[in-house]
């Protein structure tokens, strides 16, 4: 084998797996497949760059754009990753936690826009919006844990997963009932309009703010998990729940804290999301939720760094991928294939790095 194979994991070394003679054959097929995909990507990209359709500015703006949306994915992904790190369950209702906060804050924003407060005191207004959104998301996340997940904590893993999907729909349609089924546009905030030139690169103010704010929140979270007492107990519960409780850690409270932090970040991500996309509807949590989950898996689920890397990578792949890989190959309507590219890369990563970029075992879990 010429291509780099992943380091064998302990399971693969076990005699049980080695009995299957077919495995190397299967891996060769996979490698051939992947090499041909990589060839396609490289050939497509070179062809695109040779046509010179896109200027350097276009590429810059695509990458900035990918970073901006990737930052939002990353913040939502942290919610998945924290919960997975501690409970080993995938909280599929997390997309709805994200939606609930920002959709509620919409009504505050409209009220502020109506009386002029939004543009006369934009910083205070945004801070209030952020607080409202985070508070509602935290509330929904904590209630969700208390009512839907805690009673099932001892159940087989599939049970909370299905419950999470049910909770996702329950929340979506509850908010549809509360707020209606229409698409609504967030009012414009004047100071966020326009562009900045940073390091010679032109970008929308909103994009720059979203990227910086997301980085800031990520650093705060990292410090929180690494330095504070609650953070330490979170890690301990993730390590071994029973032993942690024997050591005097209040497991229930730690799990609630985890959901609350995930919810707070999702609420903040919601406000950043409307800076970029300016639109709310009750189904808005579904797709970002799925993508953030993908980002979490891509980076290595259970790892906070992985969630951030995965989110940014997914964002950039989505933004740049179709134009870079497919334009040169003369594929019609390349941008329709955005999800194909993003999820295709996910499959490739999972084949070669089953634990994601930052394998959960290598780094301390949330």
């Amino acid at each position: 084998m010429t291509a780099p194979a992943p380091a064998p994991t302990p399971t693969e070394q076990s005699s049980r797996r080695l009995r299957f003679e077919r495995i190397p054959m299967r891996r060769i097929i996979l490698i051939v497949l992947s090499l041909s995909i990589i060839y396609g990507v490289v050939a497509g990209s070179t062809a695109t760059l040779r046509t010179g359709v896109f200027t350097a500015e276009d590429w810059q703006s695509l990458i900035i754009n990918g970073l901006a949306r990737g930052s939002v994915y990353a913040l939502i992904a942290i919610g998945y990753t924290l919960v997975y790190g501690i409970l080993f369950m995938i909280n599929f209702a997390h997309g709805e936690v994200f939606m609930s906060g920002v959709y509620t804050a919409y009504f505050v924003a409209v009220a502020f826009a109506g009386n002029g407060f939004l543009n006369s005191n934009p910083l205070i207004a945004i801070a209030i919006l952020l607080l409202v959104s985070m508070a509602v998301s935290v509330f929904v996340a904590v209630i969700l844990e208390r009512l839907a997940y805690r009673p099932l904590r001892g159940a087989p893993r599939l049970v909370p997963l299905i419950t999470a999907i049910g909770a996702s729909f329950f929340l979506q349609y509850t908010f549809r009932g509360l707020y209606g089924a229409n698409v609504r546009a967030y009012p414009n905030i004047e100071i966020l309009q326009g562009k900045w030139t940073i390091f010679g690169i032109q970008m929308l103010k909103t994009q720059a703010i979203v990227i910086v704010a997301a980085m800031l929140l990520w650093v705060l979270l990292y410090l929180f998990v690494a330095r504070t007492k609650t953070g330490r107990s979170m890690r301990a519960v993730g390590e071994d729940r029973e032993i942690a409780s024997l050591m005097g850690i209040n497991v229930d409270r730690t799990i609630v804290a985890t959901f609350a932090i995930g919810g707070a970040l999702a609420g903040a991500a919601g406000i950043l999301y409307v800076f970029l996309f300016n639109q709310v509807i009750f189904t808005m949590g579904f797709l970002p939720g799925i993508k953030a989950f993908t980002a979490a898996v891509l980076g290595g689920i259970g790892s906070i760094t992985g969630a951030a890397l995965g989110g940014l990578l997914l964002g950039i792949l989505e933004a740049v991928g179709p134009n870079l890989f497919l334009t040169g190959a003369n594929v019609p309507s390349p941008n329709q294939l955005q999800p194909v590219i993003a999820f295709g890369i996910l499959v490739l990563v999972l084949i070669f790095l089953p634990g994601g970029f930052v394998g959960a075992s290598e780094e301390k879990r949330a």
Binding site: L62, N182, V183, Q202, F293, Q336
Partner: protein, 446 residues
């Protein structure tokens, strides 16, 4: 992992959906008026049982004093709800006006009250399928007004209902494929214009009025949007213009900046994106922020000619052109529309029409009522409506004055062989349907 979970979501969605459908089915078929059983003479002739036996799909039997059930299959939830709700209002108003006045009370047809079974087409093939099956399963469904979106009809609702012999008249499907000889289903008709007219009109507007020479298009994979942009592109090229790109997006996505950057690389004079409210709103916002599209005229079509789109696009909507039926130039009864109809609409539904197809659905419902009058056989108060004869009566509609114009149904179900297509511009956060910036009369034959 992802596959497993989306499968799980799908299963749940089906369960939830069937619950909703069941709930709607049970409470929406209430009748507003108790039936008075005056003796009326129905237009059909001959012995009911003989006619019904001869009809391949049999008869709908409406007992004495029972209601005639009309189905609607329009988008009444989600981001395009105002499109379907507006059409549904038109249908209900047609029943209201059976007694000659708009008073909020349904009139009677041949001495029977009208009951509605309102279903949601979800503006998707899945929604159209679920709604059409619910209507097809109800033996009392005489006819259906729907769907709102071409995607809900094409190969789905039109086929399911035609297989059951239930006539379906769409007030707002404009996708050309629906009435092509290859795709047309025997029980399908529409009072909406065919997009062969609309796409061509928009191309002429862009080329002649805006002076555009280059254009790019975006569609969302729906038969409506794809058909419309294809006709636009064809006409634009035949006029001498150049199409720089024909792109496509995914419904429910939110970030279209990569597609817009790709289109902006050519800085076209016009960007035509005949899609729907949510994605249309986002594209409008994001196009305004894309460098290469600073001087590009944005044009949408009737899927976006609604209050939903204007709300979704926010302030970026200013200056956008939207095409649709010319509500100010209906060749039908313009006085009735501007006067009595619009006043009643505002009184009954508490606001200006939120979309453009209330008049088309009003005409569609009246077409259906007229056809029922023509073929129903009254035997001692019980009404027998032969299904195939009803369909034939609908297809025979010719020279009938509706609000939208003269209805002449051809063999493929197109009842608007001539339509006036207008282009409106959004000014001050609204488009004025009384003052289009461009209007042309287009005919399918010419």
């Amino acid at each position: 992992m992802r596959n497993k979970t989306s499968l799980g979501k799908l299963v749940l969605l089906l369960v939830v959906f069937s619950l909703i459908v069941a709930a709607c089915g049970s409470d929406s078929s209430d009748t507003t008026t108790a039936g008075g059983s005056d003796t009326t003479t129905a237009g059909g002739s001959g012995d009911a049982s003989a006619v019904c036996d001869a009809d391949p799909f049999g008869c709908v039997e409406v007992g004495s004093g029972e209601a005639i059930t009309i189905g609607t299959l329009l988008v009444i939830s989600g981001p395009n709800a105002s499109l379907g709700q507006d059409s549904q209002n038109g249908v209900v108003m047609a029943a209201d006006h059976l007694d000659g006045t708009f008073d909020g009370v349904n009139g009677e047809l041949l001495g029977h009250p009208i009951a509605f079974n309102h279903q949601d087409d979800g503006c998707s093939a899945e929604g159209g399928q679920a709604g059409a099956q619910a209507l097809a399963a109800d033996p009392s469904t005489v006819g259906v007004i729907g769907t709102s979106c071409s995607s809900a009809a094409l190969g789905v609702a039109d086929t399911i209902l035609s297989d059951k012999g239930i006539a379906i008249i769409s007030p707002s499907n404009t996708g050309p494929a629906l009435t092509t000889p290859e795709e047309h289903q025997p029980f399908y008709l529409r009072t909406a214009h065919n997009d062969k007219l609309q796409g061509a009109a928009v191309a002429k507007f862009a080329y002649n009025e805006l002076g555009a020479r280059t254009a790019a298009t975006i569609h969302d994979g729906s038969p409506y949007a794809d058909g419309l942009q294809a006709v636009f592109a064809e006409t634009f090229v035949s006029l001498g213009g150049t199409i720089t790109k024909q792109e496509a997006i995914q419904v429910q996505e939110t970030d279209f900046t990569s597609v817009l950057t790709s289109i902006g690389a050519d800085s076209p004079d016009v960007l035509y994106f005949p899609i729907f409210a949510a994605e249309g709103g986002l594209i409008t916002q994001q196009a305004r922020q894309t460098d290469g599209l600073a001087d590009t005229n944005l044009i949408g079509s009737d899927g976006m000619l609604s209050a939903d789109y204007v709300a979704a696009a926010g302030e970026a909507v200013e200056g956008v052109y939207l095409s649709g039926p010319d509500l100010s130039a209906f060749t039908g009864d313009q006085d009735f529309y501007e006067g009595e109809f619009k006043t009643a609409y505002q009184e009954l539904w508490g606001g200006e029409p939120a979309a453009a197809f209330h008049a088309h659905s009003y005409d569609a419902a009246n077409m259906l009522f007229d056809a029922i009058k023509a073929v129903a056989i009254d035997e001692g108060g019980t009404l027998y409506i032969p299904r195939t004869a009803l369909k034939d009566a609908l297809f025979a509609t010719s020279g009938v004055q509706g609000i939208t114009g003269t209805l002449n149904c051809n063999d493929l179900g197109d009842c608007q062989s001539t339509a006036t297509i207008a282009v409106y511009q959004v000014v001050g956060g609204n488009y004025d349907t009384a003052n289009p910036v461009y209007s042309e009369v287009a005919s399918l034959d010419g």
